[in-house]
Symmetry: C2
Subunit: 314 residues, 2 copies
């Protein structure tokens, strides 16, 4: 696959490798990825994108797995994007998740892709957006994006999803108070996983009580499920579909505009950074980034004066 045209042909033929190639091009910032997306724009938008987030150990992967199997029984093509922090501290657990997901990797109707969280500023959500478009073009009807939800870059990733599913586990107890603020703003649908464990109903009640305090137009439903036993998946899927319907209205459009704004800003920052690094910025007044940085490092110049030499102030 040398050209965008060839890749589009292979995508049309349903070749899995074409999807993988498109994502790779996108991750490297290869202009051919842009060419494909430009040419195929009108075919975009068919996929329903569900962000799956929750604390490590809450069973996000198992749940994604179970929902994927269910969709496969109905012959729907499914994409899964795992956003893994390649951090020293979480590497182990995530590797385990990957192995579990790989059971599905032999199914030709499922496409799984892992993304690292390291990279340039704004790079992760850009790469994820591109991977989502590639999977969308390949005919996936549903795409799950799994993140651990820690940090700004993961929050940015969730922004590109139609629906964010927040996975909780029983027995959070007092901790739930501490996590309240962060959870409330992120989840569109809540599920208490491992619902066969003690305290599942209490956790659901506590989450409901907190959600009652919010005055947002969309009231997130709270469901109970056991991913391992395959229980509660139908009700969960209905809750997701309800939010999908909501997102098709005017409110949903507002959110998609916001998400597009964010993506455009990230793309713009990336391009401008490239301009600055290669000295192409029309703003630049002659000084280059490296020599300015050296003066700042030697304390010969303060960073704000350096910035003014790099980009004119407004």
């Amino acid at each position: 696959m040398r050209s965008a045209e060839e890749l589009i042909d292979r995508l049309d033929a349903g070749e899995r490798r074409a999807v993988a190639r498109l994502i790779s091009w996108a991750e490297r910032g290869d202009p051919r990825a842009m060419e494909v997306i430009r040419a195929q724009r009108e075919r975009l938008g068919g996929a329903y994108i569900v962000g799956v987030t929750g604390a490590p150990g809450s069973g996000k992967s198992t749940l994604t797995n179970a929902l994927t199997r269910r969709l496969r029984e109905q012959d729907a093509k499914v994409g899964v994007i795992c956003v893994d922090p390649t951090s020293p501290f979480t590497g182990g657990a995530i590797l385990g998740d990957r192995v579990r997901m790989n059971e599905l990797a032999t199914d030709p109707g499922v496409f799984i892709r892992s993304m690292g969280t390291r990279g340039h500023l704004g790079g992760l959500s850009r790469a994820t957006s591109m991977a989502l478009r590639a999977l969308d073009l390949s005919g996936c009807e549903v795409i799950f994006v799994e993140t651990v939800g820690v940090g700004q870059s993961e929050v940015d990733v969730m922004r590109v999803c139609h629906t964010t599913l927040m996975v909780m586990v029983p027995g959070l107890g007092d901790d739930i108070q501490a996590i309240k603020a962060g959870v409330m703003e992120v989840g569109d649908v809540f599920v208490v996983n491992q619902a066969d464990r003690d305290g599942a109903r209490r956790t659901a009640r506590e989450v409901n009580a907190m959600l009652d305090l919010s005055h947002a137009e969309w009231r997130p439903p709270v469901t109970l499920a056991s991913a391992l036993k395959g229980e509660g998946l139908e009700a969960l899927w209905e809750a997701l579909e309800a939010h999908r319907g909501y997102m098709e209205g005017e409110r949903g459009l507002l959110r998609r505009v916001e998400s597009a704004e964010h993506e455009l800003l990230a793309l713009a920052q990336e391009r401008l950074t490239q301009h600055l690094k290669t000295g192409l910025a029309t703003h630049a007044q002659g000084a280059d980034l490296h020599s300015l940085a050296r003066q700042v490092a030697l304390n010969e110049l303060d960073p704000y004066s350096a910035l003014d030499q790099l980009i004119a102030p407004n």
Copy 2:
């Protein structure tokens, strides 16, 4: 404190509130913060900045606490910046750390500041850089920056430190293999904390064995300590000082230049984003961010064509 001049006077008088105010200005992007830094540039650079990172529960705060007490015995002014993910999933533990640190909060020779990790792209490392300068100006001889080391933004924060101290705990066992890659590139000095626990020496041996595989010019030393019992702190401090000496050489300058480059890029991105949002970008060809985002959200335009309308391609 209304003006930059007044704040500088109060900083000179050793007023703690002036430091806090300067950091607040910086966090809000108030131009008065830039004014102060510009005017006081020549007084900058006195502080030794140590990043303290490690997995949750490794005892970073206790260790920072113990090192701070030790420095206070020698009458050194100390600053502590805690970079807390305000994420739902770590909020609880970090709150506990804060309480422990607060024992030092009544000491007028210690300045403690917590920073959130949410915010605009590049915002965290910019805010941290500014807070470091404020503490530097206030006369802190040593500044600790404590992070959990998960995610790109925390890695960016560590970049602004002279020395990164990686805190390990005994009994990592097989996991250590999984975290190898990430840890190796980040730590300048390693300490196995809770050294009175079983397996501390084995963990130190394993870390040493991995470090032996690297061919970097600086070979990170590995020390043992028990922050709670106050043991091993002197050897740890000597190891930190050794790296500080190394960083004063040509290699250290390279790293400081790299860090300054990164900071300038973040500042430039922030400014350019501001320009784009307010339509001031000289690149803009008339189209504004919001209407382009709307077209992308409605799938009337692909994001790359939108980007070309926002910023000319190179």
